[in-house]
């Protein structure tokens, strides 16, 4: 059965249309993924940016006798419900420290409470009609305003949204990452050096290699179980401490560093090794003085990426108890601490709606740090990459 040319060319057109359809479809898939990314960042920015501003209120403080026992007495009853309770609690202490204040008055900007803050930002709030009217009037007089939220960057966690900040969690992250790097970097580099430069091609080496690839794919929560059962229960490392969190994350980061270091070592050409062996270097001298320095940029890049990954990890840290409530800012290895992602998790679980924007604000800070770290890695790679 023969077909006319018209039919064949029509068929051909159909086939080409189908081909074009696949192209548009696949382009659409990539576009969809990009769209997800854009929507995600837009959503986080719109939710998180308000967290960097906080309502403050200008009040007249009357340091009378009652205020030494109950801070609220220093405030005009009309605005006392609008001021943050954390500030009211400070007043008796202030008076005890400086008795000369007693009997004086002072006008200053103080932290408003979260409801005023949410009302000014147009979110859901719990102010009643009279309070809303007061806030509106004060705002018109310029006595209530949104100002840059320094509290957010200088204080620890709090049960009151307006007084909570990320500094304690940020410090916890720094301490945890120090432990992680101190363990994972040397062990990871040594493992990679052994596998690439020293190891004979035998059964043990193959087992180690398969094992490392497998470790990289084990769900992170299982590392948490390991941390709980071995580090905490068996070795008695203090629970919730950056030490145990850092050790757990180090085991997780290890495969990333090993794989990156191996790639970096492999990209150093053999001619370098031959030359060094040729002048009589021993194997360790070749590695220490020639191969490792040349592979260093690649190793650093891989380690930074591993660090960024560990920094965003939450699940194993929850298991080893690093979701503690940490109101005090302190840098410690063995006391209870929390980390940025865990702080985000804690805030996300707070019933108070005012914490939503704190959570998103914390997320923005975390994302900024991660983007900075990854950008550093990219720049490092671009700057020091050598093509042999």
């Amino acid at each position: 059965m023969s077909q006319s040319f018209d039919e064949i060319s029509a068929q051909l057109q159909r086939r080409h249309r189908k081909s074009a359809r696949l192209k548009w479809l696949s382009m659409g898939a990539l576009g969809l993924a990009g769209l997800f990314l854009v929507l995600f960042f837009a959503d986080m920015l719109s939710k998180g940016l308000p967290a960097f501003q906080q309502a403050q209120i200008r009040v007249e403080l009357d340091y009378n006798e009652d205020a030494t026992r109950m801070g609220r007495a220093a405030l005009d009853p009309e605005v006392s419900r609008l001021v943050s309770r954390t500030f009211e609690r400070l007043i008796p202490g202030m008076l005890a420290d400086d008795p000369e204040l007693l009997g004086t008055t002072e006008t200053r900007w103080v932290l408003a409470n979260a409801q005023v803050d949410q009302y000014l930002k147009g979110h859901t709030h719990r102010l009643n009609a009279a309070q809303q009217a007061t806030v509106d009037r004060l705002a018109e007089e310029g006595n209530v305003a949104l100002k840059f939220n320094t509290t957010f960057f200088t204080s620890g966690d709090s049960k009151m949204a307006e007084a909570s900040g990320i500094l304690a969690a940020a410090l916890g992250t720094v301490m945890t990452m120090l432990v992680t790097l101190a363990i994972a970097f040397p062990i990871g580099v040594m493992t990679a050096v052994y596998l690439e430069e020293f190891a004979p091609d035998n059964r043990l080496t193959q087992i180690i290699e398969i094992n490392i690839n497998n470790l990289a794919a084990i769900p992170s929560i299982l590392f948490g179980l390991l941390g709980l059962a071995i580090f905490i229960s068996f070795f008695g490392v203090p629970r919730s401490s950056p030490l145990v969190g850092g050790m757990t994350l180090a085991l997780m980061t290890l495969p990333v560093i090993i794989i990156a270091t191996r790639t970096a070592l492999r990209s150093v050409p053999d001619s370098i090794r031959h030359a060094a062996f040729g002048v009589g270097c021993s194997r360790w001298q070749v590695v220490r003085d020639h191969v490792l320095p040349l592979a260093m940029p690649g190793i650093m890049t891989g380690s930074i990426i591993g660090l960024a990954q560990a920094m965003g990890e939450t699940a194993p840290l929850i298991i080893v108890g690093m979701v503690a409530f940490i109101p005090d800012v302190s840098a410690t290895f063995t006391n209870a601490a929390t980390v940025l992602p865990a702080q985000i998790f804690t805030w996300a679980g707070e019933p108070d709606k005012a914490f939503v924007e704190k959570t998103a604000g914390g997320i923005l800070v975390l994302l900024a740090i991660l983007i900075f770290l990854n950008a550093t890695a990219v720049v490092l790679r671009k700057k020091f990459e050598r093509r042999w």
Partner: protein, 418 residues
């Protein structure tokens, strides 16, 4: 004395002994060499060898006895331990300095020591795997002593509520006995994983096809790292996104169709997890498609196939093992994903086929069991390890199958960069 004070004392004295060893060794070697004898190694190498013989055995003895003390619970007074290991250090110093002889290969000795140190470092990753395995298996076995394995695997009711009474020795008072039937948890896990794959596999695969076959080079170099950003976002952030933004959206959307959705529905965490997994699939598939030899494309095009037909009938079938392997890795990742489901999925074990209802997953229950105020010995806490064991077994199998498939692909086309 406190442990950390002892540790500081130990390190301090060891550092001092090491310094002494270094300078004694170097001085002696220099003296021998100055005498005109030819030596096998440089003075510095003798010095470093002396340092190694001083510090190595001492650290080994100290570490091992501390470990044994923990393991066996034996009581060695820490001061004796300190004195013992420092004595070993002093002995090592003497041996090391004595070994500074012209016919001693100090460099090779150092080499051997370093080799063992490197082997030790490489073994840590093996210990990690065994650590995970043993810690999970031991606790899981204790759980299975309390509750039968069969009930755990086939039971359809997960109700650990009364287990704390049993742990407190008041098992009889509980209104109902604790039940640990894990089927609803696995059903929830697989439901959410399936939704995630429904999003990730088509989008990821098509994006990979576009990047590998259609996209101009500029787009490709830009698109790949941009997609990787999706994989770099912390999961806790995705969890927040799923719970605060996507879940209400799904509820509204279901409302439009007259359906009733829970705010902890399975769709929101599933979809968000799918978005997170897109780059895993697209990146690996892109690599695989790129390593399909061009001769196959040329042959297909020469036979008059259109580009689309070439991709569908030649490239994709050839790359299939790699694509399946990528998808399996993605499934294993979705099964073990924790934060998204902890924050966005429900807490209630619920055996249902309706993704708009709330359901819980294995990882959620692990977290729930280990973050409460329960005794470590209680059945609920231990159940976390039993669940972890199953999770470990499933993900390990998926990973191994995936590795085998990619190896088959690699051998077939002799590509080395995968």
């Amino acid at each position: 004395m406190q442990t950390d004070q002892l540790l500081a004392l130990f390190s301090g004295v060891l550092l001092l002994l090491g310094l002494i060893a270094f300078f004694l060794g170097r001085a002696k070697a220099a003296r021998v060499r100055a005498g005109g004898t030819a030596m096998f190694a440089q003075p510095d190498q003798y010095a470093w060898f002396a340092v190694l013989t001083t510090a190595g055995p001492a650290i080994l003895v100290g570490g091992l006895s501390a470990f044994l003390m923990l393991l066996l619970g034996a009581e060695i007074p820490p001061l004796y331990l300190l004195a013992g290991s420092l004595a070993v250090a002093a002995l090592g110093l003497a041996v090391g300095v004595r070994q500074v002889k012209p016919d001693f290969h100090a460099r090779q000795a150092i080499e051997r020591v370093i080799r063992w140190i490197l082997v030790g470092a490489a073994l840590i990753s093996i210990f990690t795997t065994f650590g995970i395995l043993f810690s999970i298996i031991f606790e899981a076995l204790r759980f299975f002593q309390m509750h039968s394995f069969w009930d755990f695997i086939t039971g359809t009711v997960w109700n650990p509520g009364a287990s704390f009474l049993a742990a407190a020795g008041r098992a009889d008072e509980g209104a109902s006995a604790a039940q640990f039937g894990s089927v609803p948890l696995f059903a929830g896990t697989f439901m959410i994983t399936a939704i995630a794959m429904l999003v990730a596999i088509p989008v990821g695969l098509l994006a990979a096809i576009y990047m590998a076959e259609f996209a101009p080079k500029r787009v490709r170099t830009l698109a790949k790292p941009t997609l990787e950003v999706l994989a770099g976002i912390p999961t806790v952030v995705y969890g927040f996104f799923a719970a605060i933004t996507v879940a209400p959206l799904i509820v509204d959307l279901a409302g439009v169709f007259g359906l009733d959705a829970s705010f902890n529905n399975a769709v929101a965490p599933g979809v968000v997890m799918g978005i997170m997994i897109i780059p895993f699939i697209s990146s690996l598939s892109d690599d695989v498609i790129n390593s399909v030899p061009d001769s196959m494309r040329q042959g297909s095009l020469a036979l008059g196939m259109t580009k689309g037909e070439t991709i569908r009938d030649v490239v994709i079938p050839a790359a299939l093992p790699g694509i399946i392997s990528a998808s399996l890795l993605a499934v294993s990742r979705a099964l073990g994903e924790t934060m998204i489901v902890v924050m966005a999925a429900g807490m209630r074990p619920n055996l249902t086929a309706n993704p708009l209802e709330d359901m819980t997953t294995v990882t959620v229950r692990i977290v729930a069991a280990l973050t409460g105020d329960l005794e470590f010995e209680s059945a609920e806490t231990l159940s976390a390890f039993a669940l972890g064991l199953v999770l470990f077994a499933v993900t390990l199998t998926l990973n191994l199958v995936s590795v085998l498939m990619i190896r088959r692909f690699r051998e077939k086309y002799r590509v080395n960069n995968l």
